[in-house]
Homo-oligomer: 381 residues x 2
C-alpha cells in the first residue's frame, strides 16, 4: 500500500470555469438560459484528442478529484490515489476531466448561485436535476473542450449512474464505461435512507423552508445529521467494528458526558457531520439525493434494462464490493446481466473489501489493480 | 395464517399499578426512593405459583402485550398473536405478566413522572437506566406477586437482553429463557444508528435540552425522525422492496409535491414517524436506546460471555431471523456458542423471514410453531 501511495501527484491544479449560454431544457421541464461548470483537468490532451477521460462524482463529491490547490494544501483531491502519473488513471497517458455537477455547491451553477431573474440565490427554487441532465451538461463541456469521444467515463455510486446514462445517451462518444458500486436504480430502502436525510435537513428550523441563505442562516445540525446517516450506511458493520468497536470516550462505563456522547463512534460521527455541514450546501444535498432516488436507467425503455443498453457501443467494466450494502454486489450483477443479455462487452469484478460502500474511494489493492489493468488496456491512438 | 389468527383473545384487560417503597440503587449510582410499575396479567396463577411467564418489552414496547383495553379498542396488545388461550404462550396454561419498564412512558415511573424532590416532571433529569436495573425492578415485581420462579422469561431485541440478564442475576428464579433476535452487546453500527436517532431528537428545538415538558412543547419532528431511522433499519431491504418497491405517490415521475414527498415509502415513513411521535416520550426514547447501547452481558465477567453464563441454571431457546441485519443471526449464534461452551441446555432456531428485525413481532408460521412447541414442553407443576 505504501508503495502505491508513493507514486507521484498531478501537483498543484487550478479549477477552471466554462460558461454555457443557450437554453438547457431540463428533465423536470424547466429551462435554464445559461449555466456555468467548474472543472479541473489533469494530464494533456493528445493530438488526436482521443485520450480524454471523464470523472463523474458522487453525492458529496466535486471537481477536485486529484492534486492540490496550493503549496499549503494538506488535502489532496478526493480520488488522488487513483489519478496521477503512474497511477491507475495515468495522467501520462490520459487527459482527465473532472467537473462539479450542475446543482452542486463548489462553483458550478446551483442553489447557491444567483438566480438571474431575482438577483438572489436560487436556494430551494433551483430546478430539480436528473442524472440525464448531468450527462447533457457534461456533453456540452466535452463539446467545449473539443472532445468528440471519451476514452473512458468513470464514476462510482451516483457517478456510476452518470456513466451508464452516457453509454445510452451518447453511444458514439464513450469508448469505455467504468461503473463502480452503482445500480440500475435505488431500492426502497435506499430511497428511505435518503428521505430520512432530507427530513433531517428540512426539520432544522435554520433550513427555513430552503430559504436559509436569504435569512443568513445555515441548517448545520440538519445537514450534520444527514451526513451521519450517510456515513453509517456507507460503511459496513465490520468496518465500524474494526474502526471503533465499542470504545468509550472516557474509558469507563460510569461517567456521563454532559453532551451525552459516550462512545467513540458517536463522537466521530458528530465530528464528521459537523465538518461536512460547514462544507456543503443543504439545498444541493437535497437536490443530489433526489437525482439518486429518481434515477432509473430502464424507465424510458419499457422498464427493460436490456433494451436500454441495446444502443450502447462501449466496453464496460463493472465493479462492486462485498460488504457494500447500499449498492450491493447483487445490484451490480443486475447491470452485468442486462449488459450480457444486450450482447455487450462487459467485465465484472467483485472486490472483497471490509469498507462497505466507501470502498469505492479507497486504494484497496485488488480494486486498484483492476482499474489499473483495465485502463492500461484502453487504446488512445 | 388466518387459522392462527382465529384463535381467541385474552379479551379486555386492565393495567394494574404496583408501588415500591424503599431505595432502588441504580447502576448509574443514583438511588430512587420509590417507584411504580404498571403491568398487565393474562391467565391465572396456579396453586404452586409455578406457571408464571414474564414478558420483557423492547425499545418502544409497553405493558400492553395482549388483549384490548375496552370494547371499542381496535388495536390489540403488541404481541397479541402470541399470547392468549391456545396461542403459543397459552394463557390456559400460563400466568403471563407484562410490565412497562422503569423509565418508560406508559405509566411506570419515568421521565414524564413527577420528581418528588422538585414536584415537576423528571424530564431529562431522570436517572440513566441499565438492563440490570430493569431486571432488579422486575424481580421486585415478582416478589410482590409472590412468584418465586418464572416458568419462562421471554423477550425480543432489548427484551432478550433482559432475559439473559435474568438468567445470570437470578439463576434460581428463571427456569426457561427465551431470547429472540437479541445480542450479547450492540455493534458499533447499531450504536451509531441509535446515536443518530438521539441526535435527531436533540436537534429539534422543541426538545429544549430535554426540558420540553416544562415548556409545554413536544419534539415531534425529532422523535418522528428517530422513529423513521428505527423503522428503516428494523426492516430488511427485501421487505421494503416488497412493501413499496419504488412506487410513486403520483404514479408519475413528472409531478412535484409541495412537501417534496414523492415515493410511497417516504410517505409511509413520514406517517409512521408522526404517529409514533404522538405516542412516545422523547426522554424515554433516549433513555431506552442508551440502555441498549450500554448493555454488555460479559462486561462484569472479564468480557467473557462463557463466564457470564456459567451461573445460569435455566434452559435457553435462542431465535434469530435470516434478514435481521441490526440483530443478525451471527449475534444470536454468539449467544448460543457461549451457552454451549458454558455447558448450558440451549436450543437455537434461525427462522427464514423477509421482515428483518421486525419479524420478532410477527406471526411467521415457523417462528410461531417454534415458540409454541417450546412453551408446550415447559413443566408447570
Amino acid at each position: 500500500m505504501v508503495e502505491i501511495l508513493k507514486t507521484s501527484s498531478v501537483g498543484i491544479v487550478k479549477p477552471q470555469a466554462a460558461k454555457f449560454e443557450g437554453p438547457l431544457n431540463l428533465e423536470c421541464g424547466f429551462t435554464l438560459d445559461s449555466f456555468e461548470l467548474v472543472y479541473e483537468t489533469y494530464g494533456r490532451l493528445n493530438k488526436n484528442r482521443s485520450n480524454a477521460v471523464l470523472i463523474c462524482h458522487a453525492l458529496s463529491g466535486n471537481h477536485h478529484a486529484a492534486g492540490f490547490h496550493n503549496e499549503d494544501d494538506k488535502r489532496a483531491g478526493w480520488w488522488d490515489e487513483y489519478i496521477g502519473p503512474g497511477k491507475p488513471i495515468d495522467t501520462e497517458k490520459f487527459y482527465v476531466v473532472s467537473l462539479n455537477n450542475l446543482g452542486g455547491c463548489h462553483g458550478s451553477t446551483g442553489p447557491i448561485s444567483e438566480n438571474p431573474t431575482t438577483l438572489k440565490p436560487w436556494g430551494n427554487n433551483f430546478p430539480s436535476i436528473r442524472v440525464k441532465d448531468w450527462v447533457e451538461t457534461q456533453a456540452r463541456l466535452a463539446d467545449r473542450l473539443e472532445i468528440d469521444s471519451w476514452a473512458a467515463v468513470i464514476g462510482g455510486s451516483l457517478g456510476g449512474m452518470q456513466v451508464m446514462q452516457w453509454a445510452i445517451d451518447h453511444p458514439s462518444r464513450i469508448r469505455n464505461a467504468v461503473v463502480i458500486a452503482s445500480a440500475l436504480k435505488l431500492s426502497a430502502q435506499n430511497i428511505a435512507f435518503n428521505e430520512i436525510a432530507r427530513q433531517a435537513i428540512r426539520a432544522d428550523p435554520k433550513f427555513a423552508g430552503g430559504n436559509y441563505l436569504s435569512m443568513k442562516s445555515i441548517p448545520e445540525e440538519g445537514l450534520a445529521l444527514a451526513r451521519m446517516i450517510g456515513h453509517v450506511t456507507y460503511l459496513s458493520d465490520d468496518a465500524m467494528a474494526l474502526k471503533f468497536g465499542r470504545e468509550l470516550r472516557s474509558g469507563s462505563f460510569d461517567s456521563n458526558f454532559s453532551d451525552g456522547i459516550e462512545f467513540q463512534v458517536e463522537s466521530y460521527l458528530k465530528y464528521q457531520g459537523k465538518r461536512f455541514s460547514g462544507q456543503f450546501d443543504a439545498n444541493s444535498y437535497i437536490l443530489m439525493t433526489r437525482a439518486l432516488d429518481f434515477f432509473d436507467l430502464a424507465r424510458n425503455y419499457n422498464d427493460n434494462a436490456v433494451e436500454a443498453f441495446s444502443v450502447a457501443e462501449c466496453k464496460f467494466l463493472v465493479v462492486s464490493f462485498t460488504t457494500d450494502w447500499r449498492f450491493s454486489p447483487s445490484r451490480s450483477q443486475e447491470i452485468v446481466e442486462a449488459l450480457i443479455a444486450a450482447k455487450k462487452n462487459v467485465t465484472y469484478m467483485e472486490i472483497k473489501a471490509d469498507e462497505g460502500h466507501d470502498a469505492f474511494l479507497l486504494p484497496i489493492p485488488r480494486y486498484f489493480q483492476t482499474i489499473s489493468a483495465y485502463m492500461k488496456g484502453i487504446e488512445t491512438n
